[in-house]
Amino acid sequence: MSDIPSELQYTKSHEWVRSLPGNRVEVGITDHAQAALGDLVFVEVPEAGRRLTAGAACAVVESVKAASDIYSPVNGTVVESNAALASSPELVNQAPYAGGWLIRIEIDSGGAAPQLLDAAEYARLLADEAQ
């Protein structure tokens, strides 16, 4: 059973979103996603200042067997990306909700609220996908 922290929000494409002070969020991939991908060998994250569109690919995680796009959960601008992942992509496997975070985004002000799932909804999604 994968770990789904109750204080986070989620996307259908298996990213998690943590609200930060100000109008910012931190984004990563869920425990379920990292387990499905297997050992990561490379993570490509966007540079600070890049404009992101909700639902569009913004990063790539590569395991020994596959490379998968990560989709931005919100419209906004990259404030910071996790520099530690360049040399230690395994952080995503080891601590997907902590040291394995991918990017921090400043959400566009005045836009519509992003369509996200809460922990219970995401757990139901995983249960449905498992069937």
Binding site: F42, E44, E47, E62, K65, A66, A67, D69
Partner: protein, 466 residues
Amino acid sequence: MPFIPHTPDDVAEMLAVIGAQRIEDLFDEIPSALKSKALSRVPAALSEMEVGRLMSERAARDGRPLNFMGAGAYEHHIPAPVWAIATRGEFYSAYTPYQAEASQGTLQVIYEYQSMMCALTGMEVSNASLYDGASALAEACLTAVRANRASNSRRVLVPRTVNPTYLQVVQTIAGNQNIRFESVDYDRQSGRTLVDALRRYDGEDLTALVVQQPNFFGVLEEVDELVDWARANNVLLIGVVNPIALGVLKAPGQWGSRVDGKQGADIVCGEGQPLGVPLSSGGPYFGFMTTRMQYVRQMPGRIVGRTLDAVGNPGFTLTLQAREQHIRRAKANSNICTNQGLTVTAATIYMTLLGADGLARVAEASAARTQELVTALTKIPGVRATFSGQRFHEAVLTLDRPVAPLLAALAERGIFGGVDLGQRFPELGNALLVCATETKTDADIAQYARALAELQSVPRAARGAA
């Protein structure tokens, strides 16, 4: 690997499993209007005996011409062991099978090839080869666009001293990908690309600068200044190099000054044909590409790595495959997912046999032969060297009359006298690109000079009237 064709029974069994009647049923998805019914312009099949005879007759028409043409493909001596080894059964079907790791020998050859190309170009990582030099440059430009994160312009500077055929191929492959290729003129006196010609781009957002060394005219570019200009302007430098010339010239990885721990070209590519591959009517040749480890995930093509198997024995494997089409699909770095196995095998054997010293001797001899050729030909009235810049093994000559009829007359005497530059470089007038490699003897050069002197001795007007 043995070649095992399917028997009619095999085919019938496979069709039965998938529920198809005939092989043609597998192509039902293609609308019938799009299928060509008959290949009306393709003649009827010939027997092996008939084909053998036809091709021998055609080959005989080539004669044994004395070749002074270069312009991207070069005649070098190929030691007999190169193709004796490359055509052994184990190598001759050098295409990697779909379970590539089953062919450890093939992968080891590619790994050794990659190591040699890295050493030759002074770069950190090489792929397993590309189709040819021109397509390698196109792939290098696309790699630069992916790799240069500091640039958003997708503008690539391609000096006119880059092989014009390469530029055509680059525009064909990359021209529809929203990349702008901009030309940079050369200095008429030296035949070089001057840094001064780049100054007007200072501070602009440019993605890459292509530098060919030696350039299309055979002239040596001032690569140190060009690479330093590129670094200072956050422009990635793509070096297009002749691998034989690297036997004596500075490796692209050492071009320019060291700035912030970085030195040299960012991506290096070129045509591998001079390394043991015969001219053979224009192909197959192979392209090579090397780069910095920093950009390895942006590089196209296969890469072979050395690793340990489950019990700790060393072995070879395809690596970093997540860049490639079979995994990344539409988002792959390139649609190139193969390599030129056989010609790369020949090149690897060629480099192994010659070693660094042998390669340097081939390069030195070729440069010396071309110098002798230029000296001999420019003694003829009406013939002069076009450029003052230092050259490698090619040179542009300016003649006092049109080049095409002269080349035709030389060909009648069994001499391929060079390449007419008139169409591609009209500003140079009657310009002829000549090349002599280590394969040319004193007698060969004298024979060419005699024939050209004879043709030049006919007054221009008289010849024009004839």
